[in-house]
Amino acid sequence: MRAFDYAAPRSLDETFPLLADGRRVRFLAGGTDIIVQLREGRAECDLLVDLKRIPELRRIEIRPDGTLAIGAAVPCAEVYEHPEVRRRWPALVDAASLIGGIQIQSRASLGGNICNASPAADSVPALIVLGARLVLASARGERELPIEGFFRGPGQTVLQPGELLVRIEVPPLPPCSGARFLRFIPRNEMDIAVANAAAFLRLDDDGRIAQARVALGAVAPTPLLVAEAGELLAGQQPNDELFARAGELAAAAARPITDVRGSVLQRRHLARVLTVRALRGALARAQEGS
């Protein structure tokens, strides 16, 4: 590991000037990815900026309009232990409680999981189907975008130099809706998804699907929103046969690779299996809520 400078600003205003002098900057929240990468020489930086002392990045807040706003440096454990998050956004709890073990969850942040931009990031498919938006900030001000537009490739995002993720905003779940996130790992813990999937369903008064979203991870260079599955499902009566067809669309949308964690065949197959299972889970939650 090469020597680097470390800064721990107390506000965003203190942060932006640190990003302006041309040094290669990496951000530290939980550090569960970046510290390992620096130690193994997979990442290098001149300056490591610790974001944990910036209060607005450490807050979870539910706004009057029902939007959930999660500061980029909030650890996963604070997300899944939050009573309102548990009640209103269980799919987010599915995801946040699967990232690493207890020790990791007490450090690792959703923001870090997103910005690390692993195709297998467990928080992302759930946030995609929940319609989450990301708020990015720089000295020039803030901008926001839907999370599925944030990724450019493995480890690559739309973040500009001098810009950082400050907040994740999740809209309130409409009535009669539910979402579920699932992943497949070979073991039962301490593993990275071979594939993962999330589904969101909103039902109308007749129990038909009014709106659906399906997202996949670890089966393409970036997490995928499978729009065609949502289109297929919308307006239909939910049943196994329909879900199986949605699973086929998900498998067809997958563009997996073979690597040490899984093969093309296995990942495409899992995209289908997990989509069907996530849809069933989302349906159960939607029906529970209605």
């Binding site: 497949f184 813990e189 071979v194 899984g262 065949l265 495409r268 197959h269």
Partner: protein, 759 residues
């Protein structure tokens, strides 16, 4: 359960707290990483990025010029070592190859092969200095798979290598990666197959796997001004380290002192040296500063010794009554970069559960561009048993015969000849199979879709070898037990219990201490499941030595002739008048006045090794959509001879099964085509977590070893032998697919069920 009635013991068979327990659970126990000497500097190793390359040039001058860098070594700094052989316990090691594995000479032979080492005032500086070393390589095509390496047109790791037999005779004309070929043969195999009503022939593959000990290799060395070397390290055998270091550095053993620290697992992998000689050489170059070296997990995977990947063909035939008539097999084991796999051990284990008169087993020890293999728990046996026990399962299905009934019918027993021609002493395979048949597990039905049950048996020789112990009686009546075996699996407790039993004193009054190589006579490694048996024999003899002295001292105190006295229940009493008695503590208290300190000792080569068998039952459920295998229930039956401390015996049984489950379902070294190891970390090299293992039920069978005063057999290794086949057999039972390649990972199951290799 108890197979044979046990004598009434006071200590043996109880479950006291281990002597090292408090230190370990409070974090006070000292491991190699805890060694902190004044003036310590830190060593790091430069490793090859290539699997196979010629080294054209190494330039260390820039690194040597860096401020804070105090020493750099390459193979040129290794004292020239002739092509000699040194005996490491029973492992024959070619010193030239040991040296070339330590620091590559003209070629690097695997990804991660050490090329140079640096010592600097900080670990980070040492690492930066590695980057300042220039190495020019001529990259060569690697050969990674045992069958590929055996082809005549395969890239050669060593152009001068010719295939030899076990007597060292060259048996092949051409250069070859096949270092050794051997054949075990008896009876008339062809005639026997002709009589068989069922013959099954299959090919099996297993991947290279690692022991996965939690504590990485480490060493701190000081080259003292008087020319002696002191080494603190994590090892299974301080004397084995002393011998290897002395050989590699051309020093007399008396100049090398090895202090064994506590050890965080070894499983056979901590017998060879990797860092110790480097730390010593760096210390010498750095003017005698202590040099501390610790491997990262990546280095452990890349450059220490895993066990072989294998290709095995087995053909077995049985008659209509279920008698095993003949077995033919070929075993090809990857030795890694240098010869010396455990292929012959595999061959000698695979048929051990059976009494079969006709067999022919060909073994091949093959070098490939992967790390040099080391011992791993029952080395060689699990892969061979995977193949044989899978074929036996198929024979049983074809014969519609209960697989345990088949094993009982064909079981080896006392007098059965092993494939080596050596007859078995009293063994307990039949008793294990019977206990498995009578277990609650086997009597309970397995029901439900995608669920299945498998069984398998396994064998391991166990070891004897050399041990020394010293026993000193303290004036307060407690006893110091000084021994030279690192405590990996509870041997302080098992040895202290044997001493307490033999002396008739409380377990708590025995204080075991693991000494360094300057403080006690030779001890072979804590390995081969030998310590509780072999060092236990030495403990027993030393106790008899103490008892004789106690009788002599009592004679003086009681003023009675020695002939009238006998040692009974922790004291000495008159044979003619047992009321004339003096206790152990009182004799101890008076020792200064009766002739001075009472000490006992024993040194021996342990004879009468009791071999071990295990029979195991596993129930699995397979998720046919994801390929995930859940172990529903697991029972391990094992003959322990006599369980000194049943909890630690059960721990060994469960530990071997846990490793076997990982090997069966998940663990494998993954390489790309250039020979880069892709999963050198615990994230992608998947050992089972606590959540992946069911409670592992244990059934201890006790068929005492007649050659040990308490009946002890080694218990450390055999439990890893049956799981690979037991699980494969259970998966077949669950989903009707016979897996002959390990690991049976979710990926392989999905690919088998849903077709094709790639989608």
């Amino acid at each position: 359960m108890t197979t044979i009635e046990r004598p009434r013991y006071q200590v043996i068979g109880t479950r006291p707290i281990r002597p090292d327990g408090v230190e370990k659970v409070t974090g006070r126990a000292l491991y190699g990483a805890d060694v902190r000497l004044p003036g310590t500097i830190y060593g790091r190793v430069l490793r090859s990025p290539h699997a196979h390359a010629r080294i054209l040039r190494i330039d260390t001058s820039a690194a040597e010029r860096m401020p804070g860098v105090l020493a750099v070594v390459t193979h040129r700094d290794l004292p020239a070592v002739a092509d000699g052989i040194q005996n490491l316990g029973e492992t024959a090691v070619n010193v030239r190859e040991l040296a070339a594995n330590l620091l590559a000479d003209d070629k690097v032979l695997y990804h991660g092969h050490a090329v140079a080492a640096v010592a600097a005032v900080s670990p980070h500086l040492a690492e930066e200095a590695l980057g300042a070393i220039t190495v020019e390589y001529e990259v060569l095509p690697p050969v990674l798979d045992v069958r590929e390496a055996m082809r005549e047109d395969a890239p050669l790791l060593d152009e001068s290598r010719r295939t030899k037999n076990i007597a060292g005779q060259v048996v092949g004309e051409r250069p070859s990666n096949i270092a050794m070929h051997h054949r075990f043969e008896a009876g008339d195999v062809e005639a026997a197959f002709a009589k068989a009503s069922v013959v099954i022939e299959r090919e099996f593959r297993t991947k290279m796997v690692h022991q996965g000990y939690i504590e990485p290799q480490n060493a701190t060395a000081v080259w003292n001004q008087d020319g002696t070397v002191t080494i603190w390290t994590s090892t299974q055998g301080a004397f084995a380290v002393r011998g290897q270091v002395a050989e590699l550095l051309r020093l007399p053993v008396s100049k090398v002192r090895v202090v064994p620290m506590e050890i965080g697992g070894g499983f056979g992998g901590k017998i060879p040296v990797y860092l110790e000689p480097l730390a010593a050489l760096l210390s010498r170059k750095a003017g005698g500063r202590p040099v501390k070296m610790t491997m990262s997990r990546t280095e452990v995977f890349q450059a220490t010794g895993p066990t072989s990947g294998t290709w095995i063909r087995v053909k077995a035939g049985a008659d209509a009554e279920g008698r095993l008539l003949a077995v033919e097999a070929e075993l090809c084991y990857e030795a890694g970069a240098f010869p010396g796999s455990s292929v012959n051990a595999g061959a000698m284990c695979m048929l051990a559960p059976y009494d079969v008169e006709n067999f022919r087993i060909d073994t091949y020890d093959v070098v490939v561009n992967k790390p040099k293999t080391a011992a791993y728990r029952a080395p060689g046996a699990p892969a061979a048993a995977f193949a044989m026990e899978s074929v036996v399962d198929e024979l049983c299905r074809a014969l519609k015969m209960d697989p345990l009934a088949f094993r009982l019918k064909n079981s080896s027993r006392e007098g059965t000849r092993q494939v080596s021609g050596v007859p078995f002493p009293r063994i307990g395979h039949e008793e294990c199979v019977r206990a498995a048949m009578e277990s609650d597990h086997y009597r309970s039905p397995i029901e439900g879709p995608n669920r299945g049950r498998g069984v398998a048996s396994g064998f391991w020789f166990n070891g004897g070898m050399q041990s020394t112990v010293l026993v000193a009686v303290n004036p307060d009546g407690t006893v110091n037990l000084i021994e030279g075996n690192t405590d990996i699996g509870g041997t302080r407790a098992s040895l202290a219990m044997q001493l307490a039993e033999a002396l008739g004193i409380p377990y708590e009054d025995v204080k075991p201490f693991v000494a360094d190589t300057d403080s006690i006579g030779h001890n072979d490694v804590t390995g081969g499941s030998r310590t509780t048996f072999a060092t236990g024999l030495a403990v027993y003899e030393a106790a008899m030595d103490i008892r004789r002295q106690m009788v002599a001292r009592a004679a003086r105190i009681l003023n009675l002739p020695e002939e009238d006295l006998e040692y009974v229940d922790g004291g000495v009493q008159s044979k003619s008048d047992p009321s004339k008695r003096i206790g152990f503590k009182e004799i101890a208290r008076q020792q200064a006045r009766t002739g001075g300190p009472i000490t006992g000792k024993a040194s021996l080569v342990a004879r009468g090794v009791g071999p071990a068998f295990s029979t195991q039952i596993v129930d699995v459920e397979v998720d046919p959509e994801t390929g995930k295998v859940t172990i529903l229930r697991y029972t391990v039956v094992q003959d322990a001879g006599r369980a000194i401390h049943p909890s630690y015996v059960e721990g060994q049984m469960q530990g071997g099964v846990a490793q076997g489950i990982g090997w069966a379902l998940h663990e494998e070294y993954c390489y790309d085509e250039q020979g880069h190891l892709l999963n050198a970390n615990f994230l992608d090299y998947r050992i089972p977590t606590a959540l992946d293992l069911p409670p592992i039920e244990t059934v201890i069978v006790e068929v005492p070893n007649p050659a040990h005063p308490f009946g002890v057999r080694g218990v450390g290794e055999v439990s890893i032998v049956p799981p690979l086949a037991a699980i494969a057999n259970a998966i077949y039972d669950a989903i009707g697919v016979r897996f002959t390649d390990l690991p049976i990972s979710p990926r392989r199951i999905v690919e088998a069920l849903y077709g094709g290799k790639e989608g």
